[in-house]
């Protein structure tokens, strides 16, 4: 699926649903992104890993989408984690004081091992 400037791809690794992102996450596509994540949670997924490897940047709209999805996941007892944050993306999480608001793991392999 392609939203303006953002490509979202789903794959599976065992019981874990991996959502890979590529591009920019801003107000033009944050709602689509949030709807997609909420859809996965409501469909009964119990482990969701969002891979940020190819995310160039994100704005406050993306943070809101992620926070809404985190809330939804907590309500549905779904494990919801982020991985592969590039340094400039991680800096934005740190700048906004939002590192503790999410479960942020290292590489995709490490994250799958932790969640598996």
């Amino acid at each position: 699926m392609t939203s303006s400037g953002l490509i979202i791809t789903e794959s599976r690794s065992g019981d874990i649903c991996v959502v890979s992102l590529a591009g920019r996450i801003d107000s033009s596509n944050a709602n689509d992104f949030m709807t997609r994540l909420n859809g996965l949670i409501s469909s009964g997924e119990k482990s969701i890993l969002v891979d940020f490897a190819n995310v160039l940047y994100l704005t406050s709209a993306a943070f809101r989408a992620l926070l809404v999805a985190t809330d939804e996941a907590e309500r549905s007892a779904t494990r919801f984690s982020l991985c592969n944050l590039a340094s400039q993306v991680r800096e934005l999480f740190e700048m906004g004081g939002l590192v503790d608001a999410f479960t942020i793991l290292g590489s995709r392999e490490e994250a799958l091992a932790r969640m598996g």
Partner: protein, 588 residues
């Protein structure tokens, strides 16, 4: 008397004398003893000896001059001893941290090739008295240049400083290879030289990379001692070059035969170029010394550069007065500091004491003055790697467009040409010898000139406008990135500015009127102003809670304002005319 001079200096050079206060440095993780720390006494002495062993190879230049002046062995020994004394005094003057004199970093002095061509010409014109007088003249010129440095800093932006440092590294490496190969007049490589250099270099590398503690710290000294031993074993150690036929006294106060000076008008121009070339060389070295002491270094501190140049100028005046050739800071010593992690300024004082003692101890001076060429070559080649890499790291912190790439690429090539065609350029006009004979000076002059030319047409203030309904974040990002490359802005700062603009446009959304982005830049400031038709956005001091962000889009807008506040060094959001303006400021 001194206070009167000080008051006059402050009046003559406002802003210079008062501004020697430096901002805090961030200590690099690999540093054992930083510039303001003093190592334990044993480490201090061994580290100083290591520098002395490296610096002593530059005594080859006074030896060449002494031989050209047909000095008797006795007088040659005095000349070398006085040169050692001058080296010690010069090291203190360049490294000191006082209000007017000294750069405040470990930048030991050495005799350099920059002075060689004009000094040889001076010897042929009127003997050593002309060399001494003209050396003092070059020193006076450097003293005069020192307070003016901050006014010409536009000529040496960081990417050019990085280039200069990389060329310094390259020049040391080329010299190291030349010494290591022992190339004969027929162009053949001496295999024994190569073997000795290889043993010496491998020792330094192995100790530096795979050991810790003293072995790593003194890797160059140990490598040189092993190379010295190998040279003796291979039979290439020649002490006769520095030992008079009648032998050496254990202790001997050098006689001042050389207290005579003659100025020659024909040499003012070449020595003026020597002074300028020496200033550029010193600026490259002091900048490197600043950088290796500060992880967050972004550009040269010109107060430190001015002090270093004043120290170098005064040192050259003293060299001329006591009877030695001119000096400059020594790039290999900076490389050695990087390799060993000891950049303590205290070393400078110990180095100067050691040289003073050596000046009185002919056998020790002779041993140092005859360090075999392949051993010197290995030490130079080893230290060059650290200097060169420092330069590359500085260049790559900046965004570079085709203009800057041409400046750096062409200048680097000119430096290479000076090294490759060294023998051809040696026959050029004497006036140009200080430039053509030095890869560093030729490369730097080329870079400064090209940089000035390439500034034509680069605007310091630019803008882009979006019509209602046509705001395009990607176009704004491209606009800022391209402009940042024209300005050679720091990559990290520009990334923050790009985020600031994208986040601002994102939170503003579709607007009824035009949106204009103005960006302006100088080496110290990057300012972005976004003017739009709408109300000012809120820039909160505190981050909204996760609950507030999730609850409504207003929470997200507050988060946007908070992220903008965090990403910029200063931010304001206010009404401006019929619309509003967001001003993002970044310290550069």
């Amino acid at each position: 008397m001194l206070s009167q001079y000080w008051a006059r200096a402050k009046k003559l050079w406002p802003g210079w004398a008062e501004n020697r206060v430096e901002r805090g440095r961030t200590r690099p993780p690999g540093l054992l003893y930083s510039v303001d720390e003093t190592p334990p006494r044993a480490v201090l002495i061994m580290a100083a000896l290591q520098h002395v062993a490296l610096m002593s190879n530059s005594l080859i230049y006074p030896i060449i001059l002494g031989r050209e002046a047909h000095l008797s062995p006795d007088r040659l020994l005095d000349f070398v001893s006085l040169s050692m004394l001058a080296l010690g005094i010069s090291t203190v003057l360049i490294c000191a941290r006082t209000s007017l004199i000294g750069c405040g970093y470990l930048c030991p002095a050495a005799y350099t090739q920059i002075y060689l061509g004009p000094s040889l010409f001076a010897v042929h014109l009127g003997g050593l008295p002309v060399v001494f007088a003209m050396t003092a003249f070059a020193g006076i010129l450097q003293l005069a240049m020192a307070p003016l440095l901050r006014h010409v800093r536009v000529l040496l932006p960081s990417e050019i400083t990085g280039l200069v440092i990389a060329i310094v590294g390259l020049s040391i490496a080329v010299l190291g290879v030349r010494y290591s190969l022992g190339i004969t007049p027929k162009g053949e490589v001496k295999s024994t030289y190569l073997a000795i250099a290889a043993v010496s270099l491998m020792t330094m590398v192995i100790l530096n990379v795979w050991t810790k503690g003293y072995a790593r710290t003194f890797c160059v000294l140990i490598g040189m001692v092993i190379g010295y031993g190998a040279s003796a074993a291979f039979g290439i150690l020649d002490l006769s070059a520095a030992v008079p036929s009648e032998g050496l006294h254990l202790l001997r106060v050098p006689a001042l035969h050389f207290l005579e000076w003659h100025f020659d008008a024909a040499l003012f121009a070449p020595f003026a170029i020597v002074a300028l070339a020496g200033a550029l060389h010193l600026m490259g070295n002091v900048s490197t010394a600043q950088r290796i002491n500060d992880t967050d270094w972004v550009r040269p501190n010109f107060d430190s550069l001015s002090g270093g140049l004043a120290g170098n100028g005064l040192a050259s005046v003293i060299c001329g007065l006591i009877g030695s050739p001119g000096v400059n800071s020594y790039s290999s010593s900076i490389g050695l500091s990087t390799a060993t992690g000891i950049t303590s300024r205290s070393l400078a004082y110990v180095i100067s004491i050691v040289f003073a003692l050596l000046a009185l101890t002919p056998p020790a001076a002779a041993a140092l003055a005859t360090v075999p060429a392949p051993v010197i070559g290995a030490a130079l080649f080893f230290t060059a790697a650290f200097v060169f890499t420092n330069g590359l790291q500085i260049i790559t912190t900046r965004l570079l467009d085709s203009r800057k790439i041409i400046v750096i690429g062409f200048s680097f090539a000119m430096a290479m040409i000076a090294n490759i065609y060294h023998d051809v350029f040696a026959h050029g006009p004497v006036l140009l010898q200080p430039i053509l004979n030095s890869a560093l000076v030729l490369g730097t002059i080329c870079a400064v000139a090209l940089n000035l030319i390439m500034r034509i047409g680069v605007r310091k203030r630019v803008s882009i406008r979006f019509a209602p309904g046509h705001i395009n974040s990607e176009a704004a990002e491209q606009f800022l990135s391209e402009q940042g490359a024209h300005w050679a802005a720091r990559r990290d700062i520009l990334n923050r500015a790009v985020f600031g603009v994208i986040q601002s446009l994102d939170v503003l959304g579709d607007l009824p009127g035009d949106t204009e982005i103005n960006a302006s830049f100088d080496e110290f400031n990057l300012d972005v102003r976004i003017r739009y038709a709408g109300l000012p956005i809120v820039i909160p001091e505190q981050r909204p809670s996760s609950r507030e962000i999730v609850a409504s889009e207003e929470g997200e807008r507050l988060l946007a304002g908070y992220l903008l506040r965090c990403s910029a060094d200063k931010i304001s959001s206010r009404k401006s005319g019929d619309g509003s303006e967001i001003h993002l400021h970044y310290d550069h």
